[in-house]
């Protein structure tokens, strides 16, 4: 079964404090689209080092949204990029789509 993004980690961190929760969600909603855009730009330019850096940053968001299996995929993709391989790219981009859809709902 495919995993779905969630706010479990955010809720644990905020411990019922709505202001903290909102701040964390706002940062996710602001930073994720920027990082995603940077990623696609680097992919277009075929800059492996940059793609690797973009994936590394996006990995944190993936883990914060509780996507453990997706995090492993992102990790594998990041390691593949170090070897100048794009293996796992499609799987990684599916994760980005899932997160994009999810953050529109929060």
């Amino acid at each position: 079964m495919q995993e779905t993004p969630n706010l479990n980690y955010v809720n644990q961190l905020a411990r019922g404090d709505e202001a903290i929760k909102n701040e964390l969600i706002t940062v996710i909603k602001t930073e994720f689209p920027e990082e995603k855009e940077d990623y696609y730009k680097s992919v277009k330019e075929q800059e492996f080092k940059k793609i690797e850096e973009n994936v590394h940053r996006l990995k944190h968001k993936i883990s914060i949204l509780g996507l453990e299996k997706s995090y492993k995929i992102a990790n594998e993709f990041e390691h593949n990029l170090r070897e100048h391989s794009l293996e796992k790219q499609q799987d990684f981009e599916k994760i980005l789509i899932a997160i994009t859809n999810y953050i529109e709902t929060i």
């Binding site: 961190l13 940062v27 602001t30 850096e53 590394h56 944190h60 990041e78």
Partner: protein
């Protein structure tokens, strides 16, 4: 403790700020999106603790560490423990936190930092960060093989053998050959459990099956014991 955060990712800084605010003994002075700005700040200001992201573009956390003349305690933050290994060469690294950082793990790291502070303030026992972190029996031990970090449970190691430029680490489950020296791994292993009994061997004292004059039997390995190490070995066995 006055602390600062250095991380290029805003999300990571907000998470750390939130966690810092939960701890009364921590005072977050400033946060920086890159190491260069932090270096400028540290030229005029002193802090007790730095939360430092290792993986940052342009100027990494490791590059930053190398610039510090009188470094404060540092807790590394990373999504990839592979990058933390190199940093553990430095005595002022208290701990490293794997992202996403949980409150429980964060508190444990702060506790280590506080213990480190107390140890530093006491002139009699010399306690380094390495001792607190890597020599903790409960800590996991990571080895780097083919760019992969493999976690090893410390008590499961029964023998470490020097093999030229490599060491062979034997555990209950598996054997690993790592490019390192016996001296380096000796520094990381807890004294309470391990003893170097020969210039080529470190043994886990709890795994000894029997002892003869100049050798010990560990699992199926017969390990020589140096004449100079035998008294210490016998003394340590009395303590078990």
């Amino acid at each position: 403790m006055d602390c600062i955060i250095i991380d290029d990712e805003k999300m990571a800084r907000v998470v750390l700020k939130t966690l810092c605010n939960e701890i009364n003994s921590l005072h977050l002075v400033e946060e920086f999106p890159n190491a260069i700005e932090a270096m400028k700040f540290l030229n005029d200001n002193k802090v007790d603790l730095i939360f430092l992201d290792i993986h940052m573009p342009a100027f990494s956390g490791l590059d930053f560490i190398k610039t510090l003349k009188s470094p404060p305690k540092i807790i590394l933050t990373t999504s990839d423990p592979q990058f933390a290994i190199e940093a553990f060469e430095y005595d002022f690294i208290v701990d490293y936190l794997l992202k996403p950082i949980t409150a429980t793990r964060f508190q444990k790291a702060i506790h280590k930092a506080e213990k480190f502070e107390l140890a530093s303030a006491d002139p009699s026992p010399v306690v380094t960060a390495k001792t607190l972190v890597s020599k903790d029996i409960d800590n996991d031990f990571y080895i780097n093989i083919d760019r992969r970090l493999i976690k090893i449970d410390l008590p499961s190691i029964y023998l470490v053998e020097a093999k030229g430029d490599y060491i062979k680490i034997k555990t209950e489950e598996k054997e690993y050959t790592v490019h390192s020296t016996l001296k380096k791994i000796e520094e990381k292993l807890p004294d309470a459990l391990f003893l170097k009994v020969h210039r080529s061997y470190i043994i886990n004292l709890k795994k000894i099956i029997d002892i003869e004059d100049n050798s010990v039997l560990i699992k199926r390995d017969v390990i020589p014991v140096s004449r100079s190490k035998r008294p210490e070995l016998m003394k340590r066995l009395d303590l078990l």
